[in-house]
């Protein structure tokens, strides 16, 4: 899932300066699961903003709603009906949600209440760890199910560096060395010899190096006539 966390309250208040009435919009998907932007978090942030701005003497009326998915037009389109009465929309979606709202409602100020952090998983309740950077060219089949792109700070592709000590990364004592885990996993799978095969250099053009990315599926794309 996409993992995010809320921006500091003061930063959000600064963004909202000059606003009298704001709509806080949550998202019922990834950011609900990571407790950053679901219905409850929208309620907590909205109540905090109402109280805080009231105490500052410049009360902002913050109203609340949560859609199933902010990143899809069909879920956010119904918001348009009430949007005129708000000075701004405060999105508790990920960066994709914020941009979807901005695209859907040009002319309306759409403000981000979250910092989108990474694609990851909850390793325990309340702890999330990065697992994917969306490099566009997955190598997990030859790395024992452990991603060296997202889990090795140096993004190495040829084994552990000298900073790997007893399976721990030198960058953070709380982080396993990705390459130590890769080697351990491959040994357990009986596939260690596979790692001796020379791999071609990774093609980073599928990652951010290739610029803005886009996927087009002609097999499911609607014909122009149907779009109209």
């Amino acid at each position: 899932m996409i993992v995010a966390e809320q921006k500091p309250l003061d930063e959000i208040k600064t963004m909202l300066e000059g606003c009298k009435k704001v709509l806080a919009v949550g998202c019922g998907t990834c950011v609900t699961v990571c407790f950053a932007g679901g219905r409850r978090e929208v309620g907590i942030l909205s109540a905090s903003l109402r109280m805080s701005t009231d105490l500052d003497g410049e009360a902002i009326a913050v109203e609340e709603t949560t859609v199933q998915r902010q990143c899809e037009e069909e879920y956010i389109a119904p918001l348009e009906a009430d949007l005129e009465e708000y000075d701004a929309v405060l999105s508790l979606g990920c960066g994709v949600g914020v941009q979807s709202l901005a695209r859907q409602f040009p002319g309306k100020r759409i403000l981000p209440a979250l910092n989108t952090k990474f694609m990851g998983f909850p390793s325990e309740h309340g702890v999330w760890e990065e697992r994917c950077q969306g490099c566009g060219n997955c190598v997990l089949h030859i790395t024992g199910g452990v991603c060296p792109v997202s889990r090795c700070p140096k993004q190495l592709f040829n084994g552990p560096c000298g900073g790997s000590q007893d399976g721990i990364c030198e960058v953070d004592p709380g982080t396993e060395c990705a390459w130590h885990t890769i080697c351990t996993n491959q040994l357990e799978l009986g596939l260690f010899e596979e790692m001796m095969k020379v791999q071609p250099a990774k093609d980073w053009s599928t990652s951010r190096d290739g610029g803005h990315r886009r996927i087009v599926r002609e097999d499911i794309r609607l014909p122009e006539i149907e779009k109209a």
Binding site: L23, I44, S48, M51, D54, L55, E63, E64, T65
Partner: protein, 158 residues
């Protein structure tokens, strides 16, 4: 005609677990012990049910303080409900500071069903703390309440 200032009578919401604090309050009543009428008890199946949003809504609706009263550590009927409640109360304390209110306006209390006298002592102490802090700047007495009496909470769209 005297013009004595009216003494501040706080409004304190106490979310009480039915297995401990709520029964302790009952025991105190049965034993003819008195505790401040400022305390407004809300019975809960477990303090694990008390979430951050409810505590904030109580503050937003004009409460001068919120107490969450659960079982003694290690004795929760649902294993860890009171532990989770304490974590949330600590979180709300931090939130209140960021919002601009005093962190001492929210407090976690641990009590057992047999501790009627201790319940009285704990809530009396909390009410005294709130009296020392004075009224919440968001309370209705100050005219700053953002929510009309009777409404559940502000601003939620259907």
């Amino acid at each position: 005609m005297t013009t004595e200032a009216k003494e501040f009578e706080p409004e304190v919401v106490a979310f009480c677990c039915r297995h401990c604090a709520y029964s302790a309050a009952d025991l105190a009543g049965g034993g003819r012990m008195t505790y401040p009428c400022a305390i407004k008890i809300v019975e809960m199946p477990c303090t694990g049910r008390a979430n951050v949003l409810e505590i904030l809504h109580a503050m937003e609706n004009g409460a001068d303080g919120v107490a969450v009263a659960g079982c003694l550590p290690g004795t929760c009927h649902y294993i860890k409900g009171n532990t989770h409640a304490r974590q949330r109360v600590d979180h709300v304390s931090e939130l209140l500071t960021k919002i601009g209110l005093e962190e001492m306006r929210v407090r976690m209390i641990h009590i057992s069903a047999a501790m009627g006298a201790q319940f009285v002592a704990e809530v009396t102490n909390f009410v005294e703390t709130i009296k020392d802090l004075g009224p919440s700047p968001l309370s209705r007495d100050t005219g700053n309440a953002r929510v009309a009496p009777g409404s559940e909470h502000a601003g939620s769209k259907p």
